[in-house]
Amino acid sequence: MVSLEPRGTRSTLYSYLSPVIAIVLTLAAGIVIFSAMGKPPMQALYVFFVQPLTTAYGATELVVKATPLVLIAVGLSLGFRSNVWNIGAEGQFTVGAIFGGGLAIYFHDSESILLLPGTLVAGIVGGMAWAAIPAWLRTRFNANEILTSLMLTYVAILALSYLVHGPWRDPDGFNFPESRVFPDAGIMPVLFEDSRLHLGAVFALAIVLVGWTLLSRAVIGFQLRVVGAAPAAARYGGFREKRLIWFSLLLSGGLAGLAGISEVAGPIGQLLPTISPGYGFTAIIVAFLGRLHPVGVLFAGLIMALSYIGGETAQIELGLPAAVTGLFQGVLLFFLLGADVLINYRIRFGRARVPQGGAR
């Protein structure tokens, strides 16, 4: 018989080992899935997880995909640590793109060097504004931010769709639902020739460092950790819960907005009806896979980015459906949550017995 036995104390070893276990199990599940789909499993795994990294372009694409994931997930991690569950980063990402993109479209003739910074700030403000709605509903009416932030995501996506189909449609665009292409002064500079790697990657790295400092050194980060670990102790310490809810949501919303504007002012270059393959949702997995720590999030972001690129390669090379990306991401989260049980419990085979007369 197999049973779970409480460890008594959290295992630090397993809190780091659990993501590794989850990744190994996900690969094992991949073999089963590919076999079931009639593809040679080893070759499929190679195409999915290794082949994208064999070229320099593939490696830079990995960073391009990881950039929005890391930006969003750092913000989410800090919020999740304080038990503020912002599930609507996808919406804040979208509104960030709308705000920043709107500015770039309005000044489409501009050559000012202030346009890009202005666009980025507008994107951050957009994300914060969208996150402020759940924050206000939560602190004013105690409405659950999981539901409100998630539902607002769909509002944001529909708003973007309305804008690119209607008022912001490119007048020279042959009626395609697309905005004007942003002027050069509103486009993120590329870091390497012939790649799509842009300034956003630098922001992501900087945000990792800022997030790390905030979490481990700053008073506000300390307060977030205390609220999450022991809400009663936070009240006792005199930390204002509402202030921390506002802070968590504005921070994660602002970073999601920055990710959104970096994406449309970066690789995309204009507003489209669909600007994200679900970065805002995938970032939730990234946050947990990275153990809600900014440095962990950096690595987890790269891993999840690989699943996007691998999914694309697999579509081209093996003719697998696009859904296989989401499937792998879901399987990984599933195994991660399962493996996390080992942090607090150990597996026991058979029943423990009192050894007879072993003492003397």
Binding site: A218, A229, R360
Partner: protein, 546 residues
Amino acid sequence: MPIQKCVGPRLAQEMGLKPIEQNNQGKNGLDSPLLTLDGVVKRFPGCLANDNVDLVVRKGEIRALLGENGAGKSTLVKIIYGLLAADEGRITWRGEPVTIEGPAVARDMGIAMVFQHFSLFETMTVLENILLAMPKGTSPAELRERVVRISRDYGLPLDPGRHVHTMSVGERQRIEIVRCLLLDPSLLILDEPTSVLTPQEAISLFSTLRQIAREGRAILYISHKLEEVKALCHTATVLRAGRVVAECNPSETSARAMAELMIGDRPQSAERGDDERSGQIRLTVKGLTLAAADQFGTDLQDISFGVAEGEILGIAGVAGNGQRELMEALSGEGPALEDPHAILIEGAAAGQLGPAARRRLGAAFVPEERIDHGSVQNMTLSENAFLTAFRRLGLTRLGLIDRPRTRGYARQVIDGFDVRASGTEAEARSLSGGNLQKFIVGREILQEPRILVIAQPTWGVDAGAAAAIHQALIDLARRGCSVLVISQDLDEIFAICDRIAVLSDGKLSEPRPIQAVSVDEVGLLMGGLHDMAAIPEAGGREASLG
């Protein structure tokens, strides 16, 4: 090998105890051991909870299991009750080697246990709660009859139809005891049963336990209260750091000697200064009325008192009479009060201020719950020092934690209060209850507050730590701080307080000088009037405990 002081086959005879044999299994009468533990070892990660423990329990015997917090008492009885498996050692029951695979097996063997924390459904009646623990198909009518009979026979008054949430803690404990007695156990284990009782309730529990023992049942009684053990128990096994350090006859051993055995060196009783000061009133509570936050809470009704400079005021009372609500109102963790002037800290209206603002006015607080309220378990001691001290002591720089100074303060608390920890970076959860409490109390005291409000300062803390905390509170008051102690431990209040008031059912009695009241008066106030009739021979705690 453990020190065997005065082991007792002879002991029961010395006590003049003649248990009634109810079955024929005990061929050798008194001398046949019911339960024998032989070299029991239990290891937990990072600690040896039981180290080669030997224990013999005989029929009709009330055996005390004495020890400080963390001495391994609870682990040992959990092994006996089948909740934990021993790593090594042998258990013998009625002469047969046994493996106790779980509580169900233990109950079938005839072992029953009353836990410190009850497992009762508050919204159900007494009978329904008992029925849940019975085998399926038990007839409620028949069970009701048995419950009534047992509660009458053993002096445990219980109304089977009452809902549990209307009952006091003492009454709830009776349900648990009746539930055990229904199983007709040969061995009854009680874990710190009096920690939640008024003195009168404790006396009535003792007479029930004596009767149970007279029937030939054995009782294993876990406690760290020496006077109780002297009054009730025939034999005592003393545990220290997981080992049996002595066995003794409590009626012949002085409380002081037993305390020494328990903690290894001489505990110092706290010394109280004689000088009575009545200076400026630092903390004033005036007409504090507050509706309870939830349906099982207690409303506070028109509470008024003041604590003067240099004074320790004790608020006695059984938990659940408004202590939690009063503490939250005082610390600012509860909702803001309607009248900001209901609480004055150093003369400033504080009724609508949060905890941080009240600290800024010079107040400090120690909540009843150490774990994840007074401290954060998964954080280091320096982080826990930062938790309440950073504003008053300025442990920040430009919004960042000033780590060297924070560590320095944690070190100061650890050294000043003799906290046993591996260092300032040890996590709070690695500390024993007593050490963590010393750390929390020390953290507040070393901020030199002008007012300290402390709830249950030594609840579940061993004698050595309790004495240190008491002394620290007295010293703090001597330096001019106003100290308010909310406690259900009367011995504690009588040991350190200058004045005492009793909180019962949300109402506070008039504070009176400690010399002017007796333990009995306070006990009766604590119990509330409705319980008075139920207390047999309310004659005197001294007589029965002496």
